[in-house]
Amino acid sequence: MIETYTFSNNGGLEEYNDEVFVGFGSFTVAVIVNGMNDKEMCRRVSLAVNRVLSNDFESMSFDDMTYLLSKIVKHNDEYAVIRITDTEIEMEQHGGTIAYIVKDGDIRQVTNGLLKIDNEDRIICGTERFFKYLSKEAVLADAISSISAEEWMDYLVGRISDVNMLKGDNLSAITFIVRNTENVRIDS
């Protein structure tokens, strides 16, 4: 099971031009669009993503999905596509977004391609602006001390808020925690 939490905030601006899409099925697909500097681009990518997700995306391979998207979006559009299961993550980023994986008490940036993941690994993907005031150590510490994907996001948003009170930038990000079902603990 993949626990997920999305965050989007217009940062006190009139418009929110980023987009965060999540599709659930036997795997989870998420798309983050960094659209603050290019509203048209955001609309175009959003349209493309909606078209892909409204189809039977579960029967599509990741390559098919990204190929379909690449036919619609333009070369310099900024977005990230993530496909995540209990055991692996596939990612394709096209600028303007950053992703990290927290694993065994360490953090590293996720690059395009396939990566094996394990129970309790934590992954975050967001726009560059979301990470503007966050050190890697902050992302790491909040990941390992939070009990849910939502709490991890809350801690990070709290840090950004401490710097700029969430003013000035659209903010978009999504957190994932890998929860192998046999290891899920139910507290009374």
């Binding site: 965050f7 905030n9 217009n10 940062g11 006190g12 065994d104 008490g105 360490d106 309790e120 050190s135 150590e137 902050a138 790491l140 510490a141 909040d142 390992i144 001390s145 009990i147 809350d154 801690y155 948003v157 709290g158 808020s161 009170m165 969430l166 003013k167």
Partner: protein, 297 residues
């Protein structure tokens, strides 16, 4: 009888003897240096074999500031236990405005000391022990007082941390200072509520109760924030475990400029920087600085 009175053969003999003595001394110095090098190499190899490359250099300060009483308390485990159990350091800050602040912070530290040595690989159990300590404080003082607690446990190039309240655990790495622990203040709840409404968060900082603690040692059934997985540490990392009297006086960014080449120098620089500020209402300020070095030679 002077040297000149000696026969030439005796003189030569004495000179040779003196040269021999000098040669022996030089040899001894050289051999001892060689032995030291060999011992160092052996220790280094042992350290590598044991995957135990980081040594802890520790220092602290404990200052009253301009308060009437010292309500901070701290504890550092014995460095002699470092190889077997790592090092544990904690700071407890008695809550001002409530009775028994200093008494409770001392009680908390005494109780935490009793926990050592703790199981590094089961932070959930340790967090539960801290929760029980809070329960005992609750029973004894019935919320008439409380304290914060920040605790770090360094073992084999890994760090576990535990936190209740709003004290600080700061990791300085690559010239970036990051507070590791989330703060349990009312402002965090306000920020969450405001973001759920899609708003900016000025209100959370303007609220007079924003800095009030929503959890502390002495409250009932507290939430202990802790690392569920230990953080990997690296050569040169510095961990500052401190009360809010430190971070209220100097920002995290300015702390970077106070890093010395040892824990002692760093602690001294931070302490002096706060003293130099000369704030009239300077709170108690205490910190434990741990500098991780690859080799302690």
């Amino acid at each position: 009888m002077g040297f000149s009175a000696l026969s030439s053969q005796s003189k030569i003999g004495l000179i040779i003897l003196a040269l021999l003595i000098v040669a022996v001394i030089i040899s001894l110095v050289w051999i001892s240096n060689l032995l030291i090098q060999l011992i160092r190499t052996a220790r280094l190899n042992d350290a590598k074999e044991e995957e135990y490359p980081l040594f802890a250099d520790v220092s602290y300060f404990y200052e009253k500031g301009n308060r009437e009483r010292q309500e901070d308390s701290l504890y550092i485990s014995h460095l002699d236990d470092y190889v077997d159990y790592g090092i544990m350091a904690c700071v407890s800050d008695g809550m001002g405005g409530l009775k028994y602040g200093s008494e409770i912070s001392k009680f908390v530290i005494d109780e935490v000391e009793k926990l050592f040595p703790i199981n590094f690989y089961d932070s959930e159990v340790v967090a539960d022990c801290i929760k029980k300590i809070s329960g005992r404080v609750f029973e004894k003082y019935a919320r008439k007082g409380g304290a914060t607690l920040v605790m770090v446990h360094v073992f084999k190039d890994r760090l576990n941390f535990y936190s209740v309240g709003d004290s600080n655990i700061i990791l300085i790495r690559n010239n970036i200072a990051t507070c590791l622990n989330p703060k349990q203040t009312y402002s965090r709840i306000l920020i969450k509520n405001l973001t759920l409404e899609g708003k900016t968060t000025e209100e959370a900082y303007l609220n007079k109760k924003g800095r009030a603690l929503v959890d502390f040692i002495g409250n009932n059934n507290i939430r202990v924030n802790y690392s569920q997985t230990p953080i990997k540490l690296f050569d040169g990392d510095i961990i500052v475990t401190c009360s809010d009297g430190v971070t209220d006086a100097i920002s995290l960014n300015s702390m970077i400029n106070l890093i010395g080449n040892s824990a002692r120098k760093t602690a001294e620089n931070i302490k002096l920087a706060i003293r130099m500020k000369n704030f009239q209402r300077q709170d108690n300020y205490s910190a434990i600085v741990i500098k991780l070095n690859k080799y302690n030679f």
